[in-house]
């Protein structure tokens, strides 16, 4: 199964270089809230970084800054060698490199599942309809929904919709996947199927940044964990260490509440 990771040899060439480089990023919202207060991190290829923290701590804002859905006030973000700045071309390029999965799925309700996944391939990569559909079916097989290609999103369960959303995010063969609380809007019995897909992706070597409230999953799949509070990275370390042996008092306090 190498549907998404068959990249050119660029991957191996600069394997040591971080694929995501974030330096001193600050983001303030209109109401004066400092959502991100100077955060920095380097994320390597094939690394899975889980981001945990209380609500309103800036987790989502951090993720949304990474693909330019929010524009940072200051600081530096470089994804796979492309600086995220005011250059529109760069921003489009980064969005091709970074797939995003949302809490609310955000599938296009007026299109079939197949069309949802075809669209960007055709419009952005210039694929032919047949080419796109072939890739779409492969992606749907990967998330276990190959038989729902002609269904409309409203005909699917929440878990199925989120799996479609993951397939859609993978459609342009991104090098990075961003998950913004991908299971938070799901009924408990559907969380597992979505986490399984994410686990498979991690195993295939996808670079992932995962904002989540699923602590068990975070500890199991994460290579590194970031604890964020009030817009600051309080603690960054190997996932097992952060979850079992946090250095910071605030991390321990938060984890004791949610674990």
């Amino acid at each position: 199964m190498s549907t998404t990771i068959d990249k050119d040899d660029k991957d191996d060439k600069d394997d040591k270089e971080p694929i995501i480089h974030v330096r001193n990023v600050v983001k303030t919202f209109g109401n004066g809230v400092r959502a991100l207060d100077g955060v920095s991190i380097d994320i390597g290829r094939r690394e899975v970084v889980v981001v945990v923290g209380p609500s309103g701590s800036g987790k989502s804002t951090f993720l949304r800054c990474l693909n330019g859905l929010e524009t940072a006030d200051s600081g530096e973000i470089v994804i796979d060698g492309i600086p995220l700045d005011h250059n529109r071309k760069n921003r489009l390029e980064i969005r091709k490199e970074a797939g995003m999965v949302f809490q609310q799925f955000n599938l296009f309700p007026h299109m079939t599942v197949g069309r949802n996944i075809d669209l960007a391939q055709i419009r952005v990569r210039g694929a032919s309809t047949e080419e796109a559909r072939r890739n779409t079916c492969e992606l749907l097989t990967k998330v276990g929904l190959e038989d729902r290609v002609d269904a409309y999103p409203a005909q699917l369960s929440g878990g199925q919709q989120q799996r479609v959303a993951i397939a859609r995010a993978l459609a342009l063969r991104p090098r990075v996947m961003l998950f913004d609380e991908a299971t938070s809007a799901l009924d408990p019995e559907m969380i597992g199927e979505v986490l399984d897909v994410m686990r498979d992706l991690a195993r295939e070597g996808m670079t992932m940044v995962v904002v989540t409230h699923e602590m068990g999953f975070a500890r199991e799949v994460g290579d590194r964990a970031v604890f964020i509070d009030e817009g600051r990275f309080i603690e960054i370390g190997p996932a097992a260490e952060v979850f079992d042996n946090a250095k910071e008092e605030r991390t321990r306090e938060f984890l004791s509440k949610v674990l």
């Binding site: 859905l69 489009l92 091709k96 995003m100 296009f108 419009r123 952005v124 342009l172």
Partner: protein
């Protein structure tokens, strides 16, 4: 068993435009009775038999439209042209208002304020008597242009509302799959907005049909103008204006009803989920 089928039949009927149409007809009948009663008291002599030939005549076995039907043809042509043009103007204005360019926003705002704060009849006169001679425009073009500019202003607010009412997540999803602003609009936002704005847009089209009666003031021989001419010649004021009103009613109700049916057919395939 039978009562359940009956009930289902009635619930089905209630969802269609049929009750509205029946209501209209009932209201019309009641009004007609009232008028008949009062005109009898006034001593008005009804001459319905003289009316038909103004609608159509059969000559040499052929159907010859009378002045009222000819006028209706003119009205429909003016309306059709204005409808297309006003939707285009509306779409561009809505996109201008939503654009990040200050210039585009200002142009749209000025246009909207001017159009919405002056009477349509003044706009018609201005276009016909001031603008048209300056640029060598004929009456038809002036009428269509003025109507389109007027209705386009209102329709643009409807379209803008439809676009802004979409959840931000749809834009974000489109962007994060790599689509640019134009593609996001074209494939994701506008198709969804269109489904939401269709009903109010049809209402606006009905307004357009009614407002088109004002083009009679700039010497366009539309339905209203034809009615006026006939009344001036024959003094059949009650009969002719009844017929003219009925013709307007028939085309507006037909438009609303057919779009409503079309919408159910078009959108019945799936529901929304946000």
């Amino acid at each position: 068993m039978r009562s359940r089928t009956l009930k289902r039949f009635f619930t089905h009927i209630l969802r269609t435009p049929v009750p509205d149409v029946l209501g209209f007809v009932a209201l019309l009948a009641a009004l007609g009775l009232l008028f008949a009663y009062n005109t009898a008291a006034l001593g008005y002599r009804w001459q319905w038999h003289r009316v038909l030939r103004f609608i159509f005549t059969i000559r040499d076995g052929g159907f010859v439209p009378g002045p009222l039907l000819t006028g209706l043809g003119v009205t429909l042509r003016v309306v059709a042209a204005s409808l297309v043009l006003s939707i285009l103007i509306a779409l561009v204005t809505a996109l201008f208002r939503l654009s990040r360019s200050l210039l585009a926003q200002t142009i749209a705002r000025v246009y909207l304020e001017v159009i919405r704060n002056t009477p349509l009849i003044v706009q018609l006169f201005f276009t016909y008597f001031v603008v048209a001679p300056l640029v060598g425009m004929d009456g038809w073009t002036a009428a269509i242009l003025a109507l389109s500019l007027f209705e386009g202003a209102y329709a643009s607010e409807i379209i803008r509302g439809g676009i802004t009412s979409l959840p931000a997540g749809q834009w974000e999803a489109a962007y994060s799959t790599g689509l640019g602003r134009r593609d996001a609009l074209r494939f994701v936002v506008l198709p969804q907005a269109f489904r939401r704005i269709l009903p109010p847009l049809v209402g606006q089209a009905v307004s357009l049909i009614k407002d088109s009666a004002l083009v009679s003031t700039i010497a366009i021989y539309d339905l209203t103008m034809s009615g006026q001419v006939i009344v001036a010649r024959t003094f059949l004021a009650f009969e002719i204006w009844f017929v003219v009103a009925l013709i307007y009613l028939v085309i507006t109700v037909t438009l609303s009803a057919s779009v409503s049916v079309l919408r159910h057919k078009l959108l019945g395939k799936y529901e929304y989920h946000y």
